[in-house]
């Protein structure tokens, strides 16, 4: 510990502490501009100068000077204050538009700078926070200083958009005077794939409504996973809960039953080129609209186009990727109702005219039809017909600068062109990308459309052909939230019932292998659809797991030596039965 005196007050601090930190402890304010606790001291602005008393009485920058035993510091000495004020006046002349500098000047009692102002709009005070952030924290080194002396400026190489920039916007975040803004960075660089819906932080909860409400690190936007630097979150987390070195690991858990709820994948709207998704900025999918309209979203819930204006007319296109032989023949069930919700939100939040293009309005649930009627009363324009294309090629003056939805209105019996500002594609539900792999792992089957196959569509809708494996949610078929919750409840109670009983009823009719006859050819092992047969290498024979065997008989019919026999249906028994028939 080091003892020192600041403005006559004694303080004891750890070795290696700076004067600024020691003064903070005594609650003695010292103005700073280029200092940031997360960055190495730069000591360039020179407004934190304090007077160091003693033999060589001199001014030192408090942000950078380490304390020493017996040091005597004056923060308000005439010499220090005069020098600080002059330096701030010089900064004021350089960057008259920097609000933070003006505020600090007011605090220090400076009304106006006595030096020549060259650019009244200049905001940059050359504190270097952006450059140092980019170097020390981000590790991207995308920006630096160019030129010498008064011509010094923050610059990218050759003034071109920097290839090294990863668009993390940390520079704008650290800039104290708004000389670099998020807009600046985004003008130069398109970073966010989601239609530039705005930056999302790398550490975040997936959505505000997420359960459990636990933050995660998004490796795609985390600076550390791009440059190997940063780790700011690790430094500031007092609970030391963050560990960047953590990796995915495989955990083995022994369980009695499994509920599969692997969910669905949203239909990729760019597969239908005619709808222009990915080509036109203001054609967005349902999930993107959900993000846009969310109060914790990039626009704080305001419905805005990419140019920042509110749309005047919005079209909602139903059945995108559903009920279409080219993509998916089935109905995705949920799109009609969420589209109606969107129409309602649009009516509520904007003054936009809303057009809803449907084939059939499928309002199947409780209170759904009533909601549809309410929407009609609210003035949503419902147009029956499948949209043939979305285009930006105007034919009339009214269509200029708009997106035009071309549709056959089957109620009017004519082709219509509806100009709108924004198009929302009600994308359907598809089985998850790895649906078939999951099915293989759990030894269950998929139906023709790749959703998991239940044991019986009416009598056993949550069970599968594998005992102890149950289904819940959209992995089995498209369904809405109430249906999913109901199915999940059913699956959970089935699994519980099994666990509660503590015993398991075996199939009475299973296969059995005669050890004396088995030649160990292992043909049965590869054929068994329930992986119930294991090869015992010690004995040189195949063995059947009674708990897994479903008695399908595949191995029995395939066994070349006749070693595999079905209980109660042995060859001798069947032959005896046949003989018995012939006796009569």
């Amino acid at each position: 510990m080091v003892k020192l005196t600041i403005d006559g007050k004694k303080v004891e601090v750890e070795e290696g502490t700076t004067i600024l930190q020691a003064a903070e402890k005594l609650e003695i304010p010292i103005p700073t501009l280029c200092y940031h606790p997360l960055l190495e001291p730069y000591a360039a602005c020179r407004v934190c100068m304090v007077e160091l008393k003693g033999e060589t009485c001199k001014l030192v920058p408090s942000c950078n000077t380490k304390v020493a035993e017996g040091m005597e510091i004056e923060t308000k000495s005439e010499r220090a204050v005069k020098a600080r004020k002059l330096n701030l006046e010089l900064i004021m002349a350089r960057a008259p538009a920097a609000e933070k500098v003006q505020e600090l000047a007011k605090e220090m009692g400076i009304e106006k700078t006595r030096f020549e102002i060259i650019d009244p709009d200049e905001k940059c005070i050359l504190c270097g926070l952006c450059v140092r952030t980019c170097e020390e924290i981000v590790g991207a080194n995308a920006i630096s200083f160019a030129n010498r002396g008064k011509d010094r400026m923050v610059f990218t190489p050759y003034g071109e958009p920097s290839e090294a920039c990863i668009g993390c916007t940390a520079c704008a975040f650290f800039c104290p005077t708004e000389a670099i803004t998020f807009e600046d960075i985004h003008k130069r660089l398109v970073v966010h794939e989601e239609m530039e819906l705005g930056p999302s932080t790398a550490v975040r909860v997936p959505i505000r409504q997420a359960v459990p409400m636990v933050p995660f690190i998004d490796e795609d936007s985390c600076i550390h996973f791009k440059t190997g630097e940063c780790k700011i979150c690790e430094r500031v987390c007092e609970k030391e809960a963050i560990n960047h070195e953590m990796e995915d690991e495989e955990i083995e858990v022994e369980v009695g039953s499994i509920i599969l709820a692997s969910g669905f994948k949203s239909f990729d709207a760019s597969r239908i080129p005619a709808y222009g998704y990915g080509r036109y900025e203001n054609v967005i999918t349902a999930l993107e609209f959900e993000k846009l309209v969310n109060a914790s979203g990039p626009t704080s819930g305001k419905i805005l186009m990419t140019n920042g204006n509110e749309p005047q007319a919005v079209g909602i296109v139903h059945c995108v990727g559903s009920r279409d032989k080219k993509y998916n023949e089935y109905c995705s069930r949920v799109c009609c109702m969420y589209s109606l919700k969107f129409a309602h939100l649009l009516k509520e939040k904007t003054n936009a005219e809303v057009y809803d293009f449907y084939i059939d309005m499928r309002c199947f649930g409780k209170g759904y039809e009533e909601f549809y009627h309410r929407l009609m009363k609210e003035g949503t324009n419902f147009i029956r017909g499948r949209v043939s294309e979305v285009t930006d090629m105007p034919l009339t003056e009214k269509e200029e600068g708009k997106l035009i939805i071309r549709v056959e209105d089957t109620l009017l019996g004519e082709i219509r062109r509806i100009p709108v500002d924004m198009v929302i594609l009600a994308t359907g539900l598809e089985p998850g990308i790895d649906q078939n792999e999951i099915a293989k792992v759990f030894n269950i089957s998929c139906s023709q459309d790749s959703f998991f196959l239940e044991r019986h569509p009416k009598l056993a809708p949550v069970s599968t052909f594998s005992d102890g494996i149950f289904l819940a949610g959209a992995c089995q078929s498209p369904k809405d939230i109430p249906d999913t919750v109901a199915q999940a409840g059913a699956a959970a109670s089935q699994a519980l019932a099994l666990a509660d009983k503590g015993t398991f009823e075996l199939e009475p009719i299973t296969a059995v292998i005669n050890e004396e006859l088995c030649a160990g050819c292992q043909l049965c092992v590869s054929l068994c659809p329930f992986t119930a047969i294991n090869y015992n290498a010690e004995k040189g024979i195949s063995e059947i797991n009674d708990a897994l065997c479903k008695g399908c008989g595949t191995c029995v019919s395939a066994c070349p030596s006749g070693a595999s026999q079905q209980k109660h249906f042995r060859d001798e028994q069947i032959f005896a039965e046949i003989e018995g028939i012939f006796i009569e």
């Binding site: 001291p41 730069y42 000591a43 360039a44 602005c45 020179r46 407004v47 100068m49 001199k58 001014l59 920058p61 950078n64 380490k66 010499r79 005069k82 020098a83 002059l86 330096n87 010089l90 900064i91 002349a93 350089r94 006595r114 030096f115 020549e116 050359l126 270097g128 630096s144 200083f145 030129n147 010498r148 002396g149 008064k150 011509d151 010094r152």
Partner: protein
């Protein structure tokens, strides 16, 4: 080695080269061949002799006959008379002003008499490109002495005892710096030679590197042995191509001789040196900027501490010394600290090399013992003021130094006295000003330099120097106010107090010293709108003495014809007059009038 009857040492310093020294050598060689003297006479291009005002200089050894201001046309006669017939040619020798008899030998010339040569001990005597020449003058004897007989601690103790202080400007005790570097923790350590000389009017470091590169290498090797470094860098500005070339050549030669590289002189000590060329940034002469530059980063200073001896090049302990400091080291080791510490004053030991320039008769490079007064350097060594005008001030220490007035001529040259007077030793530039120099303009000139060279990192240096320059420019144009003067003084103190590195800390020195010693000149500019030295032309009034114009010049009309602004009225044979409304105060009429009819006020 072949021996020759005569060695013709031709100075290849900058001044002499621009006075056609290389052509003179060609002429010598041609004449020598013509007279079949190739086996008897050898021509050698040496480093700077120092007496630049007399260039191009040739010294004929072994007699030490000094020839000056030679031209190519003089050579055939000189070769025939001196080399063939053995009669030194008096008309090419140096004759002191007001005397008639020339001085044949160099060491008898007053310019050289008060000089004591340590760092420059080999200048003009050896061929800088021949290691054997250096060895013949006890070169590398100091290195062999320490490697065979001294422990690193002994070397440091010896340097400490000698009282050698940094010659780059700060005057930090060299031995102490070495000791700190030795004690600093780190496996890899570095030594650096700072040859990034950038002061206007300074050429000491350049001359030493060009005249005697091996002494620097030897000094660095000794320093590296003392602190435990295995790698060194010589940071030279690329504007010094000859220095770069000679340093490269010296490194190659000493490696060949086993005096550099692995296992030097079979001692097991390894040391290697690389040359790094600076890109002409003044602030890279500051040690933290230099380190950044060597690392390949932008040449910008970093706050100290940590000092380079603790955390320097690539984070390793690094010892940086100036060219002249390194050049002193071998001599101290060889002749002992007692000998060295007898030269100089109580606090400043040894000698200091100065480049004397400006309004001085014998401009050039001098090495004088510390403690000699400024007056002795200016009048006794450098011959006094040009055209015998009145001495006004001397700027010592380059743009970081201060302007000292005539009262300070009795000031002994040592670190403390100069700092007390508001100037600094700096690297050793001396620029002399006479009565025709305006001190405000002088301060403005040097500030303009530091403003241009400021890296721009810290506020006071970047913004403050430019603001001071603005004020000074206003004053020299007659637009200054007394408030400006107060603001200027406040600014100068604030910059000196708060700038980040040495460049900024010392940039206000010319302003502060001129304000201290020549405040009346500032006031004359502000209150009377007059420049007492008539250098700030915007404040001058040009008039023509009509009587003199006719009586002396017969109305020659030259001024009217040269006036670009049609401000002069008159015709040939008649008196001329200046229309003050039209006059742009360019001063051309004053310069072209051969009859002193144009008056300036």
């Amino acid at each position: 080695m072949a021996s020759y009857r005569l060695n013709i040492m031709i100075c290849a310093g900058t001044g002499c080269v621009s006075n056609r020294a290389f052509q003179i050598r060609e002429a010598f060689d041609k004449e020598i061949r013509k007279n079949s003297l190739e086996k008897e006479v050898l021509t050698v291009m040496t480093g700077c002799n120092g007496f630049c005002a007399a260039g191009p200089i040739v010294i004929v050894q072994p007699e030490g006959i000094f020839y000056q201001k030679l031209t190519v046309k003089d050579i055939p006669f000189l070769v025939e008379e001196h080399f063939l017939k053995g009669r030194p040619v008096k008309k090419f020798m140096y004759t002191p002003p007001k005397e008639t008899e020339p001085i044949p030998k160099m060491n008898d010339i007053s310019f050289f008499q008060k000089q004591v040569l340590i760092a420059l001990r080999n200048k003009g005597i050896i061929d800088p490109e021949a290691i054997d020449d250096y060895i013949a003058r006890d070169g590398y004897a100091a290195l062999s002495k320490i490697l065979s007989k001294m422990k690193p601690q002994d070397v440091i103790a010896e340097i400490k005892k000698s009282g050698l202080r940094g010659r780059g400007g700060g005057g930090f005790p060299t031995g102490l710096k070495w000791e700190l570097a030795r004690k600093a923790e780190g496996e890899q350590k570095y030594v650096i030679c700072n040859a990034d000389e950038g002061d206007p009017g300074a050429f000491m470091d350049r001359s030493i590197v060009e005249a005697d590169p091996h002494t620097i290498l030897e000094g660095m090797t000794i320093g590296a042995y003392a602190i435990g470094a295995s790698k060194g860098f010589v940071y030279v500005r690329s504007e010094y191509p000859l220095a770069v070339e000679r340093m490269h050549n010296a490194i190659a030669q000493s490696k060949e001789y086993g005096l550099l590289g692995d296992n030097i002189l079979e001692s097991g000590f390894n040391f290697d040196v690389d040359v790094i060329q600076g890109a002409g940034v003044f602030v890279c002469g500051e040690e933290t900027s230099m380190i950044a530059s060597i690392e390949g980063k932008i040449g910008e200073p970093k706050p100290r501490p940590p000092y380079p001896v603790e955390k320097g090049l690539w984070g390793s302990p690094t010892n940086i010394n100036n060219v002249e400091t390194w050049a002193n080291v071998p001599a101290i080791i060889l002749r002992g600290s007692d000998w060295f510490s007898k030269i100089g004053t109580k606090t400043s030991k040894g000698t200091k090399v100065f480049s004397v320039a400006g309004k001085i008769k014998d401009a050039g490079l001098v090495e004088v013992p510390m403690g000699l007064t400024l007056g002795e350097i200016i009048y006794d060594v450098a011959g006094g003021i040009h055209s015998d005008k009145k001495f006004k001030a001397v700027l010592i220490g380059g743009p970081s130094g201060g302007c000292l007035p005539a009262d300070c001529l009795g000031l002994p040259v040592d670190y403390e006295s100069l700092t007390k007077a508001g100037a600094m030793m700096g690297s050793g530039g001396l620029v002399v000003a006479d009565e025709d120099n305006c001190m405000v303009e002088m301060a403005r000139y040097f500030l303009n330099f530091t403003k241009d060279e400021s890296c721009g990192k810290c506020t006071p240096c970047r913004e403050g120097n430019a603001a001071m320059l603005d004020i000074l420019t206003r004053i020299t144009q007659g637009e200054g106010t007394m408030e400006d003067l107060d603001l200027l003084e406040d600014l100068a103190h604030a910059i000196k107090d708060t700038a980040l590195c040495g460049l900024g800390n010392t940039a206000p020195n010319p302003v502060l010293t001129t304000l201290r010693y020549f405040r009346d000149e500032y006031i004359a500019h502000i209150k009377d709108k007059k420049c007492p030295a008539h250098e700030c032309r915007q404040l001058n009034t040009y008039t023509i003495d009509e009587e003199r114009c006719v009586s002396e010049g017969h109305g020659c009309d030259v001024c009217r014809r040269n006036c670009a602004y049609d401000a002069i009225m008159g015709e040939k044979g008649k008196a001329h007059r200046i229309n003050q409304d039209k006059c742009a105060k360019c001063g051309v009429c004053y310069e072209v009038c051969k009859f002193a009819a144009v008056k300036v006020d």
